[in-house]
């Protein structure tokens, strides 16, 4: 990175913003629509996260490059077209790499187009910043999003199927909580994570991470 010394920490901040301070899933609660549905297992969640991250990074880079050329009246339409193009690329790429994964994610890959995070970041960040900064921010956001989805998908897979990445965790006697892999489970798990973060924020000493589970018991 051959940038002025002063810019380096700010780039680091840009990078970390999406992972922690402005995490798209847990802090901004954006872009859940096409993603809650596919987080029934950790593998699906990570694939979806990576696909979204790819679209996010490439479209933020391109939008940042053309930000001074596009008139502001048609900017949203331009962003959407750019995003749709990259989503088409991802759609065909996943189809070529793994047909099984393509079938599992189904139409939800194409629904990445309307993922609020991508348009949100394009409008709020990429349209105002130079390519380098926009890309780094988008990479951070993409990683943060993937982590968020993994947190959802792993919890749902652990409780709903007793597995993680397809590997059985509790042995054959485990009675899966079917509700976790059904639609209500998606809402409960995300709600539970938000609750955990609220709770952590509301008290000063760091708390043990057992809240999530007891929360799950209370509702399921």
């Amino acid at each position: 990175m051959s940038l002025p010394g002063q810019a380096v920490p700010s780039l680091m901040e840009e990078f970390l913003e999406g992972i922690w301070k402005q995490n798209p899933v847990f802090v901004m609660v954006l872009g859940m629509c096409p993603t809650l549905a596919v987080t029934v297992s950790a593998m699906n969640a990570v694939s979806m996260g990576l696909a979204t991250a790819f679209v996010l990074v490439t479209s933020c880079l391109l939008i940042s490059l053309v930000r001074n050329i596009v008139p502001s009246e048609v900017r949203i339409a331009t962003y959407i077209l750019i995003i749709a193009t990259f989503v088409t690329v991802v759609d065909y790429a996943i189809q070529a790499i793994s047909l099984a994964m393509y079938d599992a994610l189904g139409a939800f890959i194409q629904l990445i187009v309307v993922n609020c995070i991508i348009l949100g970041r394009a409008e709020a960040h990429a349209a105002k910043n130079p390519p380098m900064k926009a890309t780094i921010n988008a990479v951070g956001m993409g990683i943060g999003f993937t982590i968020g989805l993994f947190a959802l998908g792993s919890v749902r897979e652990i409780f709903g199927a007793g597995k993680l990445f397809g590997i059985s965790l509790f042995g054959p006697d485990f009675q899966p909580w079917v509700v976790m892999v059904l639609p209500p489970g998606g809402f409960f798990v995300l709600g539970g994570w938000l609750l955990l973060f609220n709770w952590l924020k509301s008290r000063t000493p760091p708390a043990p991470a057992g809240v999530k589970v007891s929360e799950g018991h209370a509702h399921v």
Partner: protein, 195 residues
């Protein structure tokens, strides 16, 4: 392909409700559902856009098929939806400025409402005929409105109750959505099966 219209309608309205079973259109569901009097018009506007988008998507799908340019399908869908939203926006701005202001940012955001694009994509994936697609879009919109109204009703009541501070905000909305979704699971098996 051979699903009857009534089974598509009931199935999409209740058993596979767009919001509560398929997670489509969550952003407006959580954003606009705090008051009943904005929930209904928002649902109506979204339903209208859905039906228009569904009709156009049906035509477009045929068109890109004719020219063997399926890779353009997604891009053309999104352009059609954006135009339909623009139409609704202009109509509302002229005929009901108060409502236009109440809906605020969520009106242009219908463009990025997954439910609308979802209608177009699912009807293509399931190879619905023209009438089936029309029924699917209407039922999807009605289901979206239903979920929005139910949620708004619950949240209006919630304003009068004391809630622990930790739970307030999105976490509570999500828990409520989860409970509603659990209730809608009771409809499972009605009408057309998912996928």
């Amino acid at each position: 392909m051979s699903e009857s219209l009534s089974s598509i309608f009931i199935g999409t309205l209740l058993a596979n409700n767009f919001v509560l079973a398929m997670f489509l259109g969550l952003c407006p569901f959580l954003g606009v559902s705090s008051r009943l009097n904005t929930a209904v018009p928002m649902g109506a506007a979204t339903t209208f856009v859905m039906v228009v988008a569904s009709l156009c998507a049906y035509g477009l799908n045929w068109l890109v098929g004719q020219f063997h340019m399926e890779f353009l399908r997604l891009i053309s869908y999104i352009v059609i939806i954006a135009s339909a939203v623009q139409l609704v926006e202009m109509f509302l701005k002229k005929n009901s400025p108060a409502l236009f202001r109440a809906l605020g940012i969520y009106l242009p955001l219908i463009t990025t409402n997954c439910a609308v694009l979802g209608v177009a994509l699912f009807q293509t994936a399931r190879e619905y005929s023209f009438l089936q697609a029309l029924t699917f879009a209407t039922a999807g919109g009605a289901g979206f409105t239903l979920a929005l109204v139910l949620m708004a009703g619950v949240r209006e009541r919630l304003n009068f109750s004391t809630v622990p501070q930790v739970v307030q905000g999105t976490a509570l909305s999500l828990m409520l959505a989860g409970l509603l979704s659990l209730i809608f699971m009771g409809f499972a098996g009605l009408g057309a099966s998912a996928e």
